[in-house]
């Protein structure tokens, strides 16, 4: 599983890095960024899905790899 943020949609609510701080981090204006290449370890898959479900701008997507 991989996470991705659509930067054009992100408005910096910060729900992703609050929900899944190992997967996302804020930049200097509070917009969310994926840490590293966005690969999600199995134990963080639930957090990744919560980040998607809690983003008010629906800016986060999950790509299922296998």
């Amino acid at each position: 599983m991989k996470v991705r943020i659509d930067e054009a949609r992100c408005e910096g609510h910060g729900r992703c890095y609050a929900t899944a701080p190992v997967l996302f981090e804020p930049d200097d204006i509070g917009n969310g960024h994926v840490i590293g290449d966005g690969a999600v370890p199995p134990e963080l898959e639930h957090q990744a899905r919560l980040a998607v479900a809690n983003c008010p701008e629906q800016a986060i997507t999950i790509e299922e790899t296998s």
Partner: protein
């Protein structure tokens, strides 16, 4: 409040300053969402009221058909000549001006910058609690919630904390005096900008490490901000930073005071607070924004005219059963919570990280000091009307 006739028909003659709306707007919105999803009133020269999540968000995103030139509904529409900045940039600005005006402010309100303000915020909260020692009943709105954002924002801006009553007077006028005649509205605005002008002059002569000096030193479109622009942005931060957070803190304490199971759970599981807070923000979102219609048009079957107001009740969107399961229930461990308490789109509340920090610290300190508390007199609780809703009188018994 009380400047207009009481409302008898919410579909065709609503008024968001009506006492019934202030006391409990949720049943009104619920009925409108079902029966009349975009209500209208002739008051204030014409206002539309979408109540469903989808409509509120569609308008929030549509900066082409709706302008932010004014975001507080009253009898007074700020003149178009104030564009592109608007009366209080960047909340009153449209694209493209909006982008850079907002970008300039965001680093000051980033999560990293807000973290640094946490220790002083906690110290204020501790002081307020200490001052309540020995009392059985305290007013959680008057003695606690209202002071926290005033002190935080005054320090950030570089305005004297001792002027707290003056700030609250301005805020009250701008947000709750919306039904006043135009002359009184304008007098209040002149007083606010006169007050800020004095402090801005002083900062020009004696720069210091605060937000007023930062803005005086900032550039937009290749030019230094002039003192009037600085004043308008400071007015925004003052007004937007106080009533809103005060309301969120007060509404959260009100909920916990009347819901012992939730209060006990948070006392026993303080680590749940960040998730619980999001639910309290969803269920009791304080802020309703507004837009003006740019040009005559039909929108979702509504004949909208240029300069009609449109209210954006995010608190109603947050209770829409098409968007949230059990939308009317407060579920403090709700995991999936895509609420819009801080707005949607390019005008997302710039201070949301600051507001969340203040709310979390205020609740942590309160729950630690008062693990048992309850409403001392539920009928005495009073809520503000208008576009920012929160408890303004909230007597709580703190000796369980």
């Amino acid at each position: 409040m009380g400047h207009h006739d009481a409302v008898t028909d919410w579909q065709t003659d609503f008024d968001h300053t009506d006492d019934v709306w202030a006391a409990d707007p949720y049943p009104i919105w619920e009925e409108l969402r079902e029966k009349c999803p975009v209500a209208h009133t002739e008051r204030y020269g014409g206002v539309w009221l979408p109540t469903r999540y989808d409509d509120v968000s569609a308008i929030a995103y549509d900066t082409e058909k709706f302008t932010s030139r004014s975001i507080v509904v009253s009898e007074f529409r700020p003149p178009a000549m104030l564009a592109p900045a608007g009366i209080a940039p960047p909340i009153s600005s449209d694209p493209p001006y909006h982008h850079d005006a907002r970008r300039m402010l965001l680093p000051i309100f980033s999560p990293q910058a807000v973290d640094k303000l946490e220790p002083s915020t906690r110290a204020y909260c501790d002081e307020l609690i200490a001052a309540m020692q020995g009392r059985d009943v305290v007013d959680a709105a008057v003695d606690y919630a209202q002071h926290i954002p005033v002190r935080v924002i005054a320090n950030m801006l570089g305005l004297p904390e001792s002027d707290a009553d003056v700030f609250r007077g301005f805020v009250n006028h701008v947000l709750e005096g919306v039904a006043l005649p135009i002359e009184q509205r304008v007098d209040g605005m002149i007083a606010l900008f006169g007050y800020l002008e004095g402090h801005i002059k002083d900062h020009m002569e004696n720069p210091r490490d605060d937000l007023i000096s930062f803005l005086l030193d900032s550039e937009l479109e290749g030019q230094k901000l002039d003192p009037f622009q600085v004043g308008r942005t400071i007015a925004l931060l003052l007004i937007a930073g106080i009533d809103t957070t005060w309301s969120a803190i007060g509404a959260s304490i009100w909920h916990l005071a009347k819901t012992p199971a939730d209060r006990e759970r948070l006392v026993n599981e303080p680590e749940l607070l960040p998730v619980a807070m999001e639910e309290l923000l969803r269920a009791y979102a304080p802020v309703t924004m507004a837009r003006l219609v740019k040009e005559d048009m039909e929108w979702n079957g509504c004949p909208m005219k240029a300069d009609d107001w449109v209210l954006l009740p995010f608190p109603s969107a947050n209770r829409d059963p098409n968007e949230f399961d059990d939308a009317d229930k407060v579920i403090i461990d709700r995991e999936i919570n895509r609420h819009a308490a801080f707005g949607l789109g390019i005008h997302r509340c710039a201070g949301s990280h600051l507001a969340r920090m203040e709310l979390r610290v205020a609740l942590e300190v309160w729950l630690e000091a008062f693990p048992r508390f309850e409403l001392a007199d539920p009928d005495a609780v009073k809520w503000s009307g208008g576009q920012v809703r929160g408890p303004r009188v909230l007597p709580v018994r703190v000796t369980g």
